[in-house]
Symmetry: C2
Subunit: 237 residues, 2 copies
């Protein structure tokens, strides 16, 4: 029986520029009721605290609800759609999302948080600290909350990965009836980010979750290049 | 600490037309090592077995790889994009996906499985049987594997719900810093479907998973109309 467990990490306080998220997580996990971190656990860390730690905060005019719009354009390489105040952009990382991933919630009034410059690197740094301090190999996913076309509601997805596959390719394996599967590349990193979101909750401000039970074969070097679809292969921009 | 557990349900054999999925699940859950189903468990059931039970199977020419293409157009109300053999359609349900949700894997050779006519109703029927036979109130999600623009890899999403919210609206609640959140409607049904996919695996053909630990406030009457975005509000069709 395959079994997965996800839980929120308590006791992570306010994150300020210059802090090492890896150190903060190691400290918080010391008091974990589910025991210490283990090999092949996945740490899912929300983008917001990574952006804060990496000082990706920019002052805005708190009284002007549109004051971050110039930032949105600065962070974009392409405006994909625009309707009223809603701007869907492609970021320098290749992510397509609202407002270049910039948002104002859970950030001090008068500031906007930009996405990390390189979320894979942010994830690797956390993974390396956990490895150095606790001696365990974990996967790390930096997650963010994105909308999508055609379906209402937001879901959490991966914007950075380290030590855990982003996309797992099942093509060529046989299905349960012995037919060779045609196309089944599963984005396990996005699914892990979504599973973690279910225990973090948006309003409670819990920025880290642990997922235990991911398939051992998924733990390997990885990067967001597995997920980001090149514009030339994309039908929707 | 918020905590979620997901596990695959073993012992569900081949499903054939006319079977009641609810009965099959109740029987398989009798041998569950995690104990019997409880109130507020979520049953995630893959579309394929629902389509089989509801006899949504159509004979095709097994030697012609394009023989199901006419079916794809018959099941569509709109062709959203077409490139080579890839057709992205809007189905009668309002889902936008490849091939109108029709696929051939895990279906007997010579047949294609269409989406259930009304997946919310399929979910309700399972929920009602579990309630009648075991006396517990569970949420039921019918899941399918969809691609998406901009990001490679597929993820599992909800195509039918019963007894569990599709989208949870956190607008108006305060974030951790006391700011009122602007827009946070979370599609928990899609996130639950993704969490379940992680324990089902595509090639193993395990069609049912149980998720325990979803927020009690999410259990209520619901329907896919919470997720399906009307074309008039959509920027990508």
């Amino acid at each position: 029986m395959a079994r997965l467990m996800a839980w929120s990490v308590e006791g992570i306080g306010e994150i300020t520029p210059g802090m090492q998220i890896g150190d903060v997580i190691v400290e918080a996990c010391g008091a974990e009721p589910n025991g210490p971190l283990r090999d092949n656990d996945v740490l899912v860390v929300t983008q917001k605290i990574v952006s804060k730690a990496e000082n990706r905060l920019v002052a805005i005019d708190a009284d002007d609800p549109l004051s971050h719009k110039q930032l949105v354009e600065d962070e974009a390489v392409r405006i994909v759609r625009r309707r009223g105040d809603l701007i869907i952009t492609e970021t320098k990382h290749g992510f397509v999302c609202a407002n270049s991933g910039i948002d104002l919630s859970n950030v001090e009034r008068g500031y906007a948080a930009l996405l990390p410059l390189d979320s894979d690197r942010s994830a690797r740094r956390i993974r390396d600290i956990v490895k150095a301090k606790l001696g365990v190999n974990v996967g790390v996913i930096i997650s963010d909350t994105f909308g999508r076309p055609w379906r209402k509601g937001l879901t959490d997805v991966a914007i950075g990965v380290a030590g855990i596959a982003a996309v797992v390719d099942l093509r060529g394996t046989e299905d349960a009836l012995g037919r060779v599967m045609q196309v089944t590349e599963v984005c396990v990193a996005d699914e892990l980010a979504s599973a973690a979101e279910l225990v973090m909750g948006k309003s409670e401000g819990i920025p880290v979750a642990i997922v235990r039970g991911a398939d051992p074969s998924w733990f390997r070097d990885a990067s967001m290049s597995e997920i980001v679809r090149p514009p030339s292969e994309d039908l929707f921009r």
